[in-house]
Amino acid sequence: MEFKDYYRILGVEPDAETKDIKTAYRKLARKYHPDLNPGEEAEANFKEVAEAWEVLKDSERRAEYDELRKYGGRQEQFRPPPGWQQAGHGEHFSGDFSDFFNAIFGADLRREGAWAGGVDRGGQDVEIEMPVFLEETVSDCQKPVEYEIPVLEGNQLRHRRKSLKVKIPAGVTDGERIRVKGQGAPGSGSGAPGDLYLHIRLVPHPVFDVEGHNLLVTVPIAPWEAALGARVVIPTLEGRISLSVAPGSQSGQKLRVRGKGLAGRSGRGDLIALLKVVMPPQTDAATDPLWQELADKAAFDPRAEWSKQS
């Protein structure tokens, strides 16, 4: 196995004082802590740093390590010296440490609490991302989920695939978590299994935007529809409805359709139709004269505010 140079990992001299080692550890922990830095690389770095600190913070453990370092630090492949007593004295470490650490301080997989035979311990919780379409949130829905759980087979930690159908309650929101009891990793002994957590991610919709429990839909309208008023058909999560646009409507104006938004624990939100006046994509010989006539007859300066200032 590989010899771990804990001093190098923490970037300190072998004769450094504990308080300096602590400072070095805390700086690196801040830099690599998996809860502050996403990504597997940070997690791997943090494990090394935490392991180094676990050994060097304890004067007895550090002394043992220093002895070994004299003996094995220069070898390519580290083997504990013959007759080396595992110095862990049955200590329990809750962390996830390297083979090197386990060989010296004696916490191998079997002895590690989570998997210890005869110890009743709850199984791990498992969390997975669960994409949900907006349409599915309106009422309770059933979704298949597939995930992996860690299980101990013999002394080997393996991953087993699991699949379930889960009822997703109506009104789930983006970023929310829901819990499926007892569907996490199995416990050891008579320990209860862990839970499965589904981290809800609302899939971006091609038409609707989400704002709290309200939905927004941009409704393109022609200039004459804005001017004269119109009935336009707009989509909702459950089919189309007809919406009345008042004469003289403006681009950016919002029309509220009550109860057609997302489901929430305290009733449904609203659908907000945002009007957007759009021009025909091309000019057209038949309509150009009409626009010209409108320009001549309508006494309208949309930039009147600016003219006043200059």
Partner: protein
């Protein structure tokens, strides 16, 4: 079909892997996680995300050797950052839609 829940009780929370009752009560005291509804502890309910935040808080407290006040501030800021990131993403999508076709 397996049913799911959106909230978790105090008892269930404490039986959750790695969260002791003492630690949970401390986290409630320092506002790291907040129960919703209920007058007494036995009626407390937490939203399920609280479990992940509680575990995260405990890891940060242990690994960075922080006190509860620091953990509470950190978790608060992390939650706020997460919700701002989500809001930012939603606004970005809206902007994209608004600019499309211009």
């Amino acid at each position: 079909m397996t049913t799911s829940t959106v909230t978790i009780t105090l008892e269930e929370f404490c039986s959750s892997q790695g969260v002791s009752r003492t630690a949970l009560l401390e986290m409630v005291e320092y506002d790291v996680v907040q129960p919703t509804g209920g007058h007494g502890e036995q009626d407390w309910k937490f939203d399920c995300s609280s479990v992940q935040w509680a575990k995260r808080a405990l890891r940060l407290k242990r690994d960075l050797e922080l006190d509860w006040v620091a953990v509470a501030i950190l978790v608060d800021l992390m939650r706020e950052r997460e919700s701002l990131a989500r809001e930012n993403e939603q606004l970005r999508l809206r902007l994209q839609r608004f600019l499309a076709g211009e």
